[in-house]
């Protein structure tokens, strides 16, 4: 009986307050917006995007931020911490609509972005946002050129230019 009470109490505690057992503390996460990135102290710089042809993506904002992780403090608390190696990545926030041809749902299977130079280690998604992971030796690039491909065919170019 005592065991059952303890189990029920633990269950209620977990259910009511949540717990950090399911928190992924391994992979880098992306801020949802420039404002959030600034508030958390990860923001580095804002970028403007030039698309050729125009309106490949409905881009809301682009920024560079320090790579950060969720750090589990205890069973009920987590916090965001910057990566220890001072690495950064560029985050591209897009607005996806039912008319958007390039959305996460068909990413990789139908289209893909890749960087044309040798500045990045990966391009993809994190937290639902496009992320361009910069190599450790690269920071604050004044511009970045991304190639949009559909299969092997090049569809367009996305050029990111640092604002400041």
């Amino acid at each position: 009986m005592k065991d059952k009470v303890i189990i029920v109490f633990m269950g209620m505690s977990l259910g009511l307050f949540g717990c950090t057992l399911g928190v992924n503390e391994v992979n880098p996460q992306a801020s949802k917006s420039i404002e959030e990135s600034k508030n958390d102290g990860f923001f580095i710089n804002e970028y403007m995007a030039i698309q050729e042809p125009k309106r490949l993506f409905d881009i809301v904002e682009v920024w560079e931020e320090k790579v950060w992780y969720n750090k589990v403090i205890n069973l009920f608390k987590k916090t965001k911490v910057a990566s220890g190696n001072n690495s950064s990545w560029i985050v591209i926030k897009t607005k996806e609509t039912s008319q958007s041809p390039y959305v996460y749902a068909n990413y990789s299977t139908e289209w893909q972005l890749s960087e044309s130079g040798n500045l990045t280690s990966s391009v993809g998604y994190a937290g639902g946002l496009l992320t361009v992971s910069l190599k450790e030796t690269v920071s604050f690039p004044d511009s970045l050129r991304l190639v949009l491909k559909k299969g092997q065919e090049q569809i367009g170019i996305l050029t990111l230019i640092r604002k400041h």
Binding site: G11, S121, G124
Partner: protein, 249 residues
């Protein structure tokens, strides 16, 4: 695959159980380890051997794994199924058949020692797609969104690496410390399944990062079984299948 915790086992001390393909592992591993040196672990046994251990700075694992892939595919299919353009640049390499490679990437000390796993899938264009299921979106919708019942998952980490070297050189992935390579029957299906699993509802027991990898590998013809934690799943994968390449760092 349904989620029935009653059917699941979470083996402490799984090592060494259910060895079915040891000869194949030994043969392939022997060839591999002769070339590179380092640590090799299979079926619960650790093999240390001489030679310069692989590291991201000193050599590209991609060249070796490409060669390994060709040999493994020849063994698996009886020849003629390996990727086209053997001598070509990996970027221009495109396989016509979907048989290919996946690497289970594991962080053994994550989440209170229960581990974390993600999956690297080599796409038909030769690049590597890394997909990982994240935790529960605590701010997500759903009246029953809590730690007990689970809730919507955070959007997956889903990134493309031009080469395997790029993954290993990426300091942001440096916590991944155990890697096991398996042959999968259909890389396209496996990639799509992993993406769906990684973005579907999160539940600590039934739909976590490890079960996403687990269920996806089953689709690709890899035997895993019912295990809850990523570390126990990783042990099951390495002990129940032919592991074509294993690496710890």
């Amino acid at each position: 695959m349904g989620c029935n915790p009653a059917m699941m086992v979470d083996p402490l001390g799984l090592m060494g159980s259910m060895v079915t393909d040891l000869p194949a592992i030994e043969v392939i591993a022997h060839r591999w380890t002769q070339n590179v040196g380092g640590n090799f672990v299979a079926n619960g046994a650790a093999f240390l051997f001489e030679g310069s251990a692989w590291n991201a700075e000193s050599r590209s694992p991609f060249d070796e794994t490409e060669d390994l892939l060709d040999r493994a595919l020849e063994q698996t299919t009886g020849g003629g199924q390996s990727s086209e353009g053997h001598d070509q640049d990996p970027q221009s390499k495109k396989k016509t058949d979907p048989l290919g490679l996946a690497i289970v990437a594991n962080v053994s000390d994550a989440v209170y020692g229960k581990g974390h796993s993600g999956l690297l899938v080599q796409k038909q264009d030769g690049t590597w797609q890394f997909i990982s299921k994240e935790g529960r979106d605590e701010d997500g919708d759903g009246s029953s969104n809590n730690a007990l019942s689970g809730g919507p998952a955070l959007k997956a980490v889903d990134v493309n690496y031009k080469t395997l070297s790029d993954f290993f050189a990426d300091k942001n992935q440096s916590r991944y410390n155990r890697f096991a390579m398996v042959i999968i029957s259909d890389v396209n299906k496996v990639e799509t399944t992993m993406r769906q699993a990684a973005n579907s509802k999160y539940n600590l027991i039934c739909a976590n990062c490890g079960t996403a990898v687990n269920n996806t590998l089953e689709v690709g013809g890899v035997k895993v079984g019912y295990y809850i934690t990523p570390n126990s799943q990783f042990s099951a994968i390495t002990s129940r299948n032919v592991i074509y390449w294993y690496y710890e760092r």
